[in-house]
């Protein structure tokens, strides 16, 4: 950035956006220059994505104006954004699975006419070679890894001649190695004079990649700092408003004893591919066992196998209740396993999917666990209602009423309902997957504390997570999965992130998933 450069690539002038009564962006002023990477930092709901959606034409500001290259621009659609050289890579990739990379890239670019696949493929190849993407234009999207799909999204934006690239949480689903590769590409593009915005709430990535950090909090613009002149603690303070210790409370396990012993667990999916291969470990009561791994390494299958939802090809899962001998869980129905005391707070990617019925209220969802208890044909609503009220109170679930459809609650509240219900059944084993995915820091801590409380009660907590920082601070031990095999078990108090990251990709020989 030279002193001569007076015209900003992008300039937001007092941008305000409201959704009904909620002010998502409140008078934001922000600039972006060519040849820089700006990190846009903020908690969930702080308005980062909304602000960038106005740049990419998804929303239109209620007040204020956006200047592109010093001139006011009315960006009313993604097409307008491309016309202004702006492209956004969304968090959820917008790709058509059955199309090739080239077809996806050319989508919507010209109206009518013949589709010249060869010409498009040649242009895609040229861009790929220039920045070192290494993508095959004729590969179908459904055959691609997450990282490849992201690459297609980036090439799509470049193909449209974008000089301003916005990446919304680009590293959420990437392995550390893939993230490094992405960052290398971003640096190449920066050197090429592109202006890049990366939306994130991962502080270490902000420190690693950005030149400047702009912080939003509850729709307000807090300020921008040069990355070189700040540190994670200062950024966290800006982001949350008050100092939040980065340390998660982690008491030492008291009297840990084997609760769940898994030996040689092997499962096959519908196509006969091994999803778990000889997995063995012991989960102790009174500790949190973290499970790390690249998305799709068998975490889901492992939890579902324990809960009795996945067909098991070989191996044993033994459960040891208090004051009794071990009992075999393989071959039991989910109901029997549940009654034995193994609870599962499985939070899949879409949150509502497996755990809750979106159209029902909290009461109805509480009832899903207790419907067997009633007598006769009519359901008993009194107890579930009381439980719903209790969960609402103790976990501070924000909902107009316990009969309000959970589908319309925010992500954090949905998770609280789900976790609250599972804990209410006083389990001895509590399993959760991606319990904090997409949650802001404060809500995440609420969930962490819930897990820790259960651990203190002597529950064996199994916590599948994706943020290694959290796993290393929350858990007592971490089991690392790689391609369905156990890559190793480490002590979370002494292990380093690099160590775990490497274990995530090592076993099985091939990288990534």
């Amino acid at each position: 950035m030279t002193a001569l450069e007076t015209v900003h690539a992008i300039e937001f002038r007092h941008i305000t956006k409201r959704f009904g009564k909620v002010v998502a962006n409140d008078g934001i002023d922000l600039t972006l220059d060519r040849g820089e990477i700006l990190a846009l930092l903020g908690e969930n709901g702080s308005g980062k994505t909304t602000l960038m959606n106005m740049l990419s034409g998804i929303y239109f500001p209620d007040e204020g104006e956006i200047l592109v290259g010093g001139k006011p621009a009315a960006i009313r659609s993604p097409k307008d954004a491309y016309a202004n050289g702006i492209g956004m890579i969304h968090q959820h990739y917008k790709l058509v699975d059955v199309f090739t990379a080239a077809e996806n890239i050319a989508l919507g670019l010209h109206d009518g006419g013949r589709l010249d696949r060869r010409e498009i493929a040649a242009r895609v190849q040229a861009i790929s070679d220039k920045y070192g993407f290494g993508i095959d234009p004729n590969k179908k999207v459904y055959d691609m890894s997450v990282s490849e799909k992201q690459t297609v999204e980036i090439v799509k934006v470049l193909y449209r001649g974008a000089d301003v690239l916005i990446l919304d949480e680009p590293t959420a689903v990437l392995t550390p190695q893939e993230t490094e590769r992405l960052f290398a590409i971003l640096r190449t593009m920066k050197a090429d004079g592109k202006a890049i915005v990366i939306i994130t709430h991962k502080l270490h990535e902000v420190m690693a990649i950005s030149d400047r950090v702009a912080v939003l909090r509850k729709g307000q613009y807090i300020g921008a700092v040069n990355t070189a002149e700040t540190d994670p603690q200062a950024l966290t303070d800006m982001m949350v408003g008050h100092a939040v210790t980065l340390n998660i409370d982690r008491p030492d396990p008291v009297d840990p004893k084997p609760r769940l012993t898994v030996e040689g667990l092997t499962v096959l999916d519908a196509e006969g591919v091994k999803k778990l291969d000889g997995v063995g470990f012991t989960a102790l009561g009174g500790e949190i066992l973290g499970i790390a791994g690249i998305a799709g390494s068998g975490q889901r299958e492992l939890l579902e196998s324990i809960a009795g939802l996945y067909p098991i090809a070989a191996g044993s899962i033994r459960y040891t209740p208090d004051g009794a001998g071990p009992q075999e869980l393989v071959g039991k129905t989910p109901m029997q396993i549940k009654q034995a005391g193994v609870a599962m707070a499985f939070v899949p990617e879409d949150r509502l999917g497996m755990g809750l019925v979106g159209g029902m209220g909290m009461t109805g969802n509480m009832m899903l666990r207790s419907w067997r208890r009633g007598k006769g044909v009519f359901v008993d609503r009194k107890d579930p209602n009381a439980l719903a009220l209790k969960v609402k109170e103790s976990l501070e679930v924000v909902t107009p009423s316990v009969d309000f459809p959970v589908r319309r609650l925010s992500g954090g509240n949905v998770q609280k309902v789900l976790v609250g219900r599972e804990i209410a059944s006083s389990p001895t084993v509590l399993m959760s997957a991606y319990a904090v995915r997409g949650l802001d820091i404060n809500t995440s801590y609420t969930i962490y504390n819930l897990m820790t409380e259960q651990k203190k009660k002597g529950v064996a907590v199994i916590f599948v997570g994706e943020d290694l920082d959290v796993l290393l601070e929350l858990c007592d031990r971490i089991l690392v999965l790689c391609g369905g095999k156990v890559s190793g078990v480490v002590d979370a108090r002494t292990a380093t992130k690099e160590q775990v990251g490497l274990m995530m990709t090592r076993v099985g020989g091939k990288e990534g998933a």
Binding site: V98, L107, E271
Partner: protein, 330 residues
């Protein structure tokens, strides 16, 4: 006609019976490729049949004996298309603009269209003295081959290639054009993107609503031409109560059978057409007609089982088929 073997006759009959199906299927493929599962094909074909026959009938009445066969055919095509397009437009408004459930709306359209078609047909019948029929000269234009007799008299290939009625050739042309449109043109790629992932298409600047409306309305029109073809060829240009014998439902099944590919629809419709009339040509004692008549559906179920087992990503229905699209607000 010379030297016609039973096999040749069966093939000819299969093609004749398959042609209404071909229109119905190709139209429904276009609609489904945009993500709209329109179960109202039967209704639209009824409306098309009544409107098409009505157009030819009233045109002949008004022209006072000097009716041109080509004009009658064109009018029948135009009005049957409009009839189906109108039905599809109602469906589109309800499912695309109002985002109602597609299955329910499609079934309602099937019932509505059947009733509307019957109403128009019965109105024509009653007001014209109990019998709707056009003159034999015009009928011949609808039912006979447009090619010179010399070509038709060639052995085997004569009747097979040149002896079909005009709608067979039109149907083939529509199917081929549809295949080229969907796979070779940008507009076709965009339309498929809308059916696969409307959010993606929307973000790429493609007008999802316009694509869905156009595909569904034009597709409905094409399907409806099939109804007219049935009435003017198989039913002999006479309106009767039996109507279309479920061709519209069969078309919905055929779309699945041919894996949403217009070129597959060509041989698929001939196969289904053959299966439909097999009971007339290949009678085995003790096997009732009804068992023959379920053959097309049995074949569809078998195809469904096999495509599900193979689980090939390329042979699946459009990913957002049956789902309404609206831009997500936070």
């Amino acid at each position: 006609m010379i030297n016609q073997s039973p096999v040749l006759l069966l093939i000819m009959a299969a093609v004749l019976n398959g042609t209404p199906l071909l229109f119905g299927t190709v139209g429904e493929i276009l609609s489904e490729k945009s993500g709209n599962l329109n179960l109202g094909v039967e209704g639209m074909m009824y409306m098309g049949g009544a409107m098409g026959l009505g157009a030819a009938f009233y045109y002949e009445q008004l022209s006072g004996g000097s009716a041109s066969g080509i004009v009658a055919v064109l009018l029948a095509i135009l009005f049957s298309f409009l009839g189906g397009a109108f039905g599809a437009l109602i469906y589109s408004f309800i499912t695309i603009t109002l985002r109602a459930n597609q299955n329910v709306t499609g079934l309602a359209l099937a019932i509505f269209g059947t009733g509307a078609g019957q109403f128009i047909g019965e109105y024509m019948r009653v007001t014209s003295g109990g019998y709707v029929a056009i003159s034999n000269e015009l009928k011949a234009v609808f039912a006979n081959s447009p090619f010179p007799a010399a070509l038709q008299k060639l052995p085997v290939v004569g009747p097979l290639l040149f002896g079909q009625n005009i709608f067979v050739y039109l149907g083939l042309a529509v199917a081929v054009v549809m295949a080229v449109f969907l796979n070779r043109s940008r507009a076709g790629l965009y339309l498929r993107a809308v059916g696969e992932s409307p959010a993606t298409a929307d973000a790429a600047g493609i007008n999802v609503t316009r694509n869905k409306y156009l595909a569904t309305v034009i597709g409905g029109g094409i399907s409806a031409i099939g109804g007219m073809v049935y009435i003017t060829t198989i039913a002999g240009c006479v309106w009767n109560h039996e109507g279309l014998a479920g061709e519209g439902w069969l078309a919905v099944a055929l779309v699945i059978f041919c894996l949403w590919r217009p070129l597959n629809a060509i041989w698929g419709s001939i196969l289904f057409g053959g299966l439909m009339i097999l009971y007339l040509r290949l009678q085995v004692p003790f096997i009732p007609d009804q068992l023959y008549k379920i053959l097309p559906y049995v074949v569809t179920v078998i195809v469904l089982i096999f495509t599900s087992l193979r689980n090939s990503k390329d042979k699946q229905p459009p990913a957002s088929l049956g789902l309404a699209y609206f831009r997500e607000e936070r």
